[in-house]
C-alpha cells in the first residue's frame, strides 16, 4: 500500500495546484463583482463580506450589454451551423480512401488551423465594407465559421473514424446515398462527439475578441467587446465589469460541465489513435 500513497498524493497535489491557479482569477473577479466598491480594492483584501447584487443588475441593464449577449448567442449558433453544414460532409469524405487529394487537403487543414486567425481580418474588413456585411451578425458568423472549420473537420473526422466502415457498406447495399449514410447513420452515432465539438467551437467564438473588434462597431457587438466597454474614458466601473465578466463566463462554463466527458474524449482523440 505504502509505495502507492506518495505518487497518488503527488498527483492530487499537482491537480489541486493547477485548479487553484486557474480558478483564482475567476474567484477574484467574482469577489469584485459581489463586493461594495469600497471593499473591492481594499488592502489587505477583504475575504469576508456581505455579497451585493447591484453590479449584476447594473451590468445587464447597461446599454448594449444584453444586445451584445444576444449577438454572441446568434454568432455562436450560426457559426456552428455553418461550420457543421460544411464540416460534416467534408469530414466523411476525407475519411474515404477513395477521395482524391485527401492527404493534401488534410495537411492544408492542419496548416490553416495553425495560421493566426487575425490574418484574414484586414482583407475581410475591406470586403465587408464594400458589400455591407460590416457590423452584421451574419458577417461575423461567416468569418467565425471559416476559422472554426479546420478544427471542426479534424474532430468530426476522428469521431467518424470510430464508426465501423461496414455500417456504411451495409447501408450502401440497401440503396442509401452518401448523404443518407452521413445523416442517418454517421451523425446519430457520432452525436455526442459532434455536440462536444459544437461546444468547443462555441467557446472559441464566444471568447473571441480581435476579429469582433475589427469587423463590428455597434449593432453586431459581441460580449467580449461589451465587457471591454465598461472601461470608460475617465474611469472604469470595476464592479459592473466584473459582474459582466461573470455573466459572460457562465453559459460556456455550464456547457463545458454538461459535456465534459465527451469533450475530454474528443480532445484525447488523435493523441490516442
Amino acid at each position: 500500500m505504502k509505495p502507492k500513497f506518495l505518487p497518488q498524493f503527488g498527483r492530487y497535489a499537482v491537480a489541486v495546484t493547477a485548479a487553484v491557479v486557474s480558478f483564482f482569477p475567476i474567484l477574484w473577479i467574482a469577489m469584485i463583482a459581489l463586493k461594495e466598491r469600497t471593499d473591492a480594492f481594499a488592502i489587505p483584501p477583504v475575504w469576508f463580506f456581505n455579497p451585493v447584487w447591484e453590479h449584476f443588475a447594473k451590468a445587464w441593464t447597461t446599454s448594449g450589454f444584453s444586445g451584445a449577449f444576444l449577438n454572441s448567442v446568434l454568432v455562436c449558433a450560426i457559426g456552428n451551423v455553418l461550420a457543421f453544414a460544411i464540416g460534416i460532409p467534408a469530414a466523411y469524405l476525407l475519411n474515404q480512401r477513395r477521395t482524391p487529394g485527401r492527404k493534401a487537403i488534410l495537411v492544408w487543414l492542419l496548416i490553416s488551423y495553425m495560421l493566426p486567425e487575425f490574418l484574414f481580418v484586414i482583407p475581410v474588413y475591406v470586403l465587408y465594407q464594400a458589400i455591407g456585411l460590416y457590423d452584421t451578425v451574419i458577417g461575423l458568423a461567416l468569418v467565425y465559421q471559416i476559422f472554426t472549420l479546420p478544427f471542426t473537420i479534424w474532430l468530426v473526422r476522428a469521431f467518424f473514424a470510430d464508426v465501423p466502415a461496414a455500417l456504411a457498406e451495409a447501408a450502401r447495399l440497401e440503396g442509401a446515398t452518401t448523404a443518407q449514410i452521413i445523416w442517418k447513420i454517421y451523425v446519430p452515432i457520432a452525436a455526442p462527439g459532434l455536440a462536444a465539438t459544437a461546444i468547443l467551437n462555441a467557446i472559441k467564438m464566444w471568447n473571441e475578441l480581435a476579429i469582433a473588434l475589427a469587423l463590428t462597431f455597434d449593432r453586431a457587438q459581441t460580449v467580449t467587446l461589451a465587457v471591454a466597454g465598461f472601461r470608460g474614458y475617465a474611469s472604469i466601473d470595476w464592479g459592473a465589469m466584473a459582474a459582466a465578466s461573470i455573466i459572460v463566463i457562465l453559459p460556456m462554463a455550464f456547457f463545458a460541465i454538461l459535456a465534459q466527458r465527451h469533450i475530454v474524449q474528443g480532445l484525447s482523440l488523435g493523441s490516442v489513435k
Binding site: 457498406e169 447501408a171 450502401r172 447495399l173 440497401e174 440503396g175 442509401a176 447513420i185 452515432i189
Partner: protein, 361 residues
C-alpha cells in the same frame, strides 16, 4: 434466385495480387461455400460480388446480366457481415426496415414485412430493442432478418458464425441450412472452418492465397463428397480433413510406387517422384489390402468415441484414428499399419496435382 458467374477475375491492391484468374459458375439456388486459410481473398471475392470492391480485370454476372460496373444497390444482393454491421442508433425493427424506408416503401407494408421476417427468425419480442441490448446470436438474427426482408437475388455471408460460441454455431448452422431450403435462394457463404464448409455447402470452393498457389486461387470447386474423396491437389488434400491427411513423398517405378521398401502397383503414367496421401481414418491397425509399415506410438489422444494415435514410421510421422471398438494403443507400443490401396491418394510431387489410376479414368 439467380446464377452468379465470375469470369477471369483479378483483384490487386497496389503491387499485391489478392485474387487471380478466378472463374466460378454458381447455379441458381445453390449454397456455395468459399473456404480457405486467412488472407486467401474470401472476403474480397464476396465484396466484389456485392460491388464493394473494385476489380483489376474480369467480369461479374448476376442472373446473366453483366453487373461488373453496377452500383451495389442495383445488384440486389444482401450481405451479412462478420460483425453484423447493425446500425446501433436504430431499434431492431428500424434496422430491418432501413432499406425499405430508403426506398420509400409504404409504411403499412414495411410494418407487415418487418413482423413477418421477425417471426421467421424469432425476433418478435425484441423489435423495440437496440442492437446493443441483444446477445451475439440475436444480433446475428437481426442481420439475417435485414437480409431476408429484401428478397435479394443472392445472399452473401462473411463468416457470420465466427463470433458465436461453438454450441450455438451448430444450431445456427442447421437453421441457415433450413432457411436456404425454404427460401431456395442462391447463397454464398465464406468461412475458414472446414466443418462449416463440409456440412453446409452444396458445393465448396477451396481457395489458397496467391502467395502459396501462384497462378490462381481457386484450388477446387466441387461437392463436399468429391472434395473429401478426390481432392484435386495437395493443397485441398491437406486443407480439408481433421486431423490432416498424412502425406509422404516416394519414388516411383515403371509399374507403381515404392512405399516403405515395397512396390505398390499403380497403373498410371507417373512422374519420378510422387506424394502419397492417406487420411487418418483410413489407416488400419494390422495388415490391409495394400502396403503396410511398422510404427511406434508416440502419444495418443482419447476423444471418447475414438482415439487419435500419433506414430513415428520410416516414412515420417503418421496420425491415425482408431475407433473405440478397439483398445487404445499404449505409448511406445509397436504397431503394424495397413494402408488400404483403395484409400491412397497420389499427387505429382512437382505440381501437387492429383494423379488418378488409369482404371478410374
Amino acid at each position: 434466385m439467380a446464377t452468379v458467374s465470375l469470369r477471369d477475375i483479378d483483384i490487386s491492391y497496389g503491387a499485391t495480387t489478392v485474387v487471380k484468374s478466378l472463374n466460378m459458375e454458381i447455379a441458381e439456388g445453390e449454397f456455395t461455400v468459399l473456404v480457405g486459410p486467412s488472407g486467401c481473398g474470401k472476403s474480397t471475392i464476396l465484396r466484389l460480388i456485392a460491388g464493394l470492391e473494385a476489380r483489376s480485370a474480369g467480369e461479374v454476372f448476376i442472373d446473366g446480366a453483366n453487373v461488373s460496373d453496377a452500383d451495389p444497390a442495383a445488384r440486389n444482393v444482401a450481405m451479412v457481415f462478420q460483425n453484423y454491421a447493425l446500425y446501433p442508433n436504430m431499434t431492431v425493427a428500424e434496422n430491418i426496415a432501413f432499406g425499405m424506408k430508403i426506398r420509400k416503401t409504404d409504411p403499412a407494408k414495411i410494418d407487415s414485412a418487418v413482423r413477418e421476417v421477425a417471426r421467421m427468425v424469432g425476433l418478435t419480442d425484441h423489435l423495440a430493442k437496440r442492437p446493443g441490448k441483444l446477445s451475439g446470436g440475436q444480433r446475428q438474427r437481426v442481420a439475417l432478418a435485414r437480409a431476408i426482408v429484401r428478397h435479394p437475388k443472392v445472399f452473401l455471408f462473411d463468416e457470420p458464425l465466427s463470433n458465436l460460441d461453438a454450441e450455438f454455431r451448430a444450431s445456427i448452422r442447421l437453421e441457415l441450412r433450413q432457411l436456404h431450403k425454404s427460401l431456395g435462394s442462391t447463397m454464398i457463404y465464406v468461412t475458414h472452418d472446414q466443418v462449416e464448409a463440409m456440412t453446409m455447402g452444396d458445393r465448396i470452393a477451396v481457395l489458397a492465397p496467391i502467395a502459396v498457389a501462384g497462378s490462381h486461387n481457386l484450388m477446387q470447386f466441387d461437392t463436399p463428397d468429391t472434395i473429401y474423396r478426390k481432392p484435386a491437389n495437395l493443397f485441398v488434400a491437406r486443407f480439408i480433413g481433421s486431423p490432416k491427411m498424412n502425406t509422404f513423398e516416394v519414388d516411383t517405378t515403371a509399374g507403381g510406387l515404392k512405399v516403405a521398401g515395397r512396390e505398390v502397383p499403380f497403373a498410371a503414367a507417373l512422374p519420378p517422384r510422387v506424394v502419397v496421401g492417406i487420411r487418418p481414418e483410413h489407416i488400419e491397425v494390422g495388415e490391409a489390402a495394400g502396403p503396410s509399415l511398422s510404427a511406434k506410438v508416440r502419444v495418443t489422444e482419447n476423444l471418447g468415441h475414438e482415439y487419435l494415435v500419433f506414430t513415428d514410421t520410416a516414412l515420417g510421422p503418421i496420425t491415425l484414428r482408431v475407433s473405440d471398438r478397439h483398445d487404445c494403443p499404449r505409448d511406445g507400443q509397436d504397431l503394424t499399419l495397413g494402408l488400404p490401396l483403395a484409400r491412397l491418394h497420389v499427387f505429382d510431387a512437382a505440381t501437387g496435382e492429383r494423379i488418378e489410376p488409369d482404371s478410374a479414368r
